[in-house]
Assembly symmetry: C7
Homo-oligomer: 96 residues x 7
């Protein structure tokens, strides 16, 4: 079973905090808006512009991304904690 995100939406699997600190990023406790890491599971075809043109997303399945903590809609699929984001909510891609 699979979910195909619509438009500019991106389905991600949130990474645990321990996994994140091992990866080198530490998020300060007093940060106003704490970013989190996630792995991209599936991406929509992209944002549809007013003239019907589709703008391909910058992220792809497998990318590790940073996003703002309170973004998106939570859902669980086969015991995995997933989140449906908009590409707009993604701050950056982590390259290792």
């Amino acid at each position: 079973m699979e979910i195909k995100p619509l438009g500019d939406r991106v389905l991600v699997e949130v990474l645990e905090a321990e996994e994140m600190t091992r990866g080198g990023i530490l998020l300060p406790d007093n940060a106003k808006e704490k970013p989190q890491q996630a792995k991209v599971v599936a991406v929509g075809k992209g944002k549809v512009a007013d003239d019907g043109k589709v703008i391909a997303p910058e992220v792809k399945a497998g990318d590790i991304i940073l996003f703002g903590k309170y973004s998106g809609t939570e859902l669980k699929l086969d015991e995995r904690e997933l989140l449906m984001l908009r590409e707009e909510d993604i701050l950056g891609i982590i390259k290792k």
Copy 2:
């Protein structure tokens, strides 16, 4: 009797929670914004852009979709619980 949605609207039939868990998606009780599953009953012709161009919807009748719980307008037709959404409210399509 049939309802033809206007513009970018999509008429869906909400699926029961039991039916959803059997399908593999579990929605956490404490999720801020719980998505639900629904089956697409009818779709509008699509969003009309400012230049009059019609942008065809990504979903079609029969698709099983995920949408945010408080989206749309409820209506009952012949004892079926229906919801009129905008395509924008649809998070993704479930492929099985």
Copy 3:
């Protein structure tokens, strides 16, 4: 005496609740935003886009439509209860 709606406006005659349930649609009492049925009396020429192009409306006089309960501006003409909507307020067309 007749009223010609301007732009994307649509003049409708609201149908009574009894008439609606006979037609097969039941609106739950606890619905947040209860849709109603109405018959289209007259339509404007359509929305005028920024480049002056007119986008023809999807509805026409005689259509039975669904709309959100608190939409539009009420007026009475020769004892008929009319409502001036925008096409945007119309959820769908009922085909029988």
Copy 4:
């Protein structure tokens, strides 16, 4: 002395309630947003689009129009009660 409305503005003379009911339209006392009738005195050249194109107004001097009660800016000219509306505030034209 004359006033030339600017852009998409329309100068109208409000018609008295008695005159309106004689004309066949009755406005319910409990209507949220009561429309009124007025006679168009002068119209601007029309809305100027972002590309400089002028979109001619749908109404012309002499038309009897319906508008929402709290729209526009009141002014008196030679004892006549006038109102400066935007074309957007006009609901429809009354044809007799």
Copy 5:
């Protein structure tokens, strides 16, 4: 010394109330939004559209205009009470 308004701004000199009533316009005391008269002193080159095109203003220096009372930014220049408006704030031009 002179002020050149920027973009779609219009510099005007407010006319006194007595001068206005002599001109034939009386503003009701209970009007929600009382318009005032002013004489145009200088105009900007016009609104700059997104594509860089400049849209020439409809008013010119010397025009007597009507504007909403609480519009614009007040300034005094050589004892004259001036107001910097946007063309958008101007309701109409008075032709005598």
Copy 6:
């Protein structure tokens, strides 16, 4: 050391009130929104439109401008009181 403003930003040096009244403009104490004078220090390349086109600013370094008192971001550079405005915040250019 120098600051290059970004996009449609304009860096200005605020002129003292005494300097302003000598120049002929007096600002009423009860003005809602008191404009101030400033000298342009540096300008950005201009606003970037959606199609990537750059719209050159109307002001240039050395111009004396009028702006609304609470606009912009204050900063001090080598004891000079500077302000980073957007061109949009500038009301007009003072020509002497």
Copy 7:
């Protein structure tokens, strides 16, 4: 390990206040909106316009920039205090 900002985002390393005053800019304590200095670490490809066109950013890695204090999202990477801004939040580039 590296972070690639998305779209019009810019990753910066905030400079300490002492370092800033040595550089010649003093920020008044009572400033409404205190700007800070930062060094650009990485930039996104630029803003994606509605027609899919990418607008290259004005800043590049290594630039020292000024930005409004409460902008962006804080994150720590290998003990460095970083901030993810949008290019829009950057007031100017400091040239020395």
